[in-house]
């Protein structure tokens, strides 16, 4: 499973390395789509919260990193 995940991630980032062009504002019709936003959606906030309670791992997702709750 770890090997599969590593290969998928490597492939995705190879696609990313293929181009890094300057995109003008009027060319961002795809990027302005709500599903293309990089920040976590409001519904993801609660998911990140319960996962920070149930796992020893938290952070790097815009959610809880520790503190502010009776959590790890």
């Amino acid at each position: 499973m770890k090997r599969v995940i590593s290969m998928v991630l490597f492939g995705i980032f190879c696609m990313g390395l293929s181009s890094c062009t300057s995109v003008k504002a009027y060319q961002k019709m795809y990027l302005n789509d709500p599903d293309m936003q990089l920040s976590a959606s409001p519904l993801e906030g609660f998911e990140n919260g319960f996962q920070s309670y149930r796992e020893g791992v938290s952070g790097a997702n815009g959610g809880k990193t520790g503190g502010g709750c009776g959590c790890n």
């Binding site: 795809y30 020893g56 952070g59 009776g70």
Partner: protein
Amino acid sequence: MQLKFSMLIFLAVLSLNLVAQNPVDLNKIHLEDVSIDFLFNYYEQEGIHSPVTGGLGTEKLNNIAPSIIVNIPLDTLRSISYSGGVDYYSSASSDNINNPYLQADHVSSASAVDFRIYSTLGYKQKNKKKKTSYSGTLGMSFEFDVTSVSVGGGYAKTSKDENMEFSVKGSYFYDKWKLIYPVEQRNASFAILDTDGRHSVNLSLVQSWVMNKRMTASVNVDFVLQKGLLSTPFHRVYFSDYNLDQFGNPLDNTASLVNSQVEMLPSTRFKLPIGLRYNYYIADFLRLKAYYRFYYDTWNVMGHTAQIELPVVLTKFLRVYPFYRYHNQSSAKYFAPFAKHQANASFYTSDYDLSGFNSHRIGLGVGIDPLFGIFNFKNKSKTRTNVLKSIDLKYSHYRRSDGLKANLYSVAFSYLIKR
């Protein structure tokens, strides 16, 4: 004569209008919409490794959690935000704080039901010329055993072509715990834990890129330092000699009053999570959202998390987004299952949240988001149009390799007040 007089009046009025006036600040004329998100979450879980009873016993818990997120633009440069909510939960394992004998027929006590209230106020200011923004937050939360206050600040800078953004956020939390020990430990003549406060400092760095017309990516690195009370006072731990009395004679299978201990963990923890996000617009009906996180901390917990989500646009206003998340973590060096700790250990926990396991979360979301909103109506004075912009429904099932299972049901209503 009359015509000449009228022309003179006209020229006089015209010249008055041509006199230089105070320049109008155009940024303060147009007010952006106020957005309000109403969220409702229901969470239920079941497991067999409750830390309240030393790593054995029910982890059954239900949580009803309504919340609200409001964003109010004061003008095109400044905005204030508020987020708050309530977690109302009932927990069979919390109920066992007052149950020293792990009896199956234990009558439920007051600790079985409780709630947490939390609020955060935020302020953000942009500088459009320099393409920077500053933000600040103040927060607090209350639950039966933890009162918390927080303060935070952030800075973000966007590149000239707005294809890159770098942001840095810092936050500080102070949590004050009520030291509620398991009932059999409350008459100790000495202080079991020497502090009731927890300090958490977090520094978060995020760099995001527009890779091309269809692709965005970001890297998020957090540095987290926690000091103070990092264990949970009402968590029990049983050592390998739990079923022996103080004279070393074997007891029956019931955990002995004498041999339960309060969870003990170090007073310092440093965490380093690194997250990578990648979004790709595959086609008009399909997107790809991928996430990976690496985690390491000084308690020896190392974790890998990967998530993939595929939003599918079915019609102009309806989309579904199936997702899958996999998580794997190694055990903290102070963890051991029920009755496996040695009596000479300095730090010990049987909290399976700190154990080694892998977990899977799978689910489906549905979004209804018409271009002009689901419905709109004007307020009584007809000065504002209120729009129910979208509804999102989400279900996910979570399963951990130690046997814990959970279901999460969420609904979000996004509402706009147009100005």
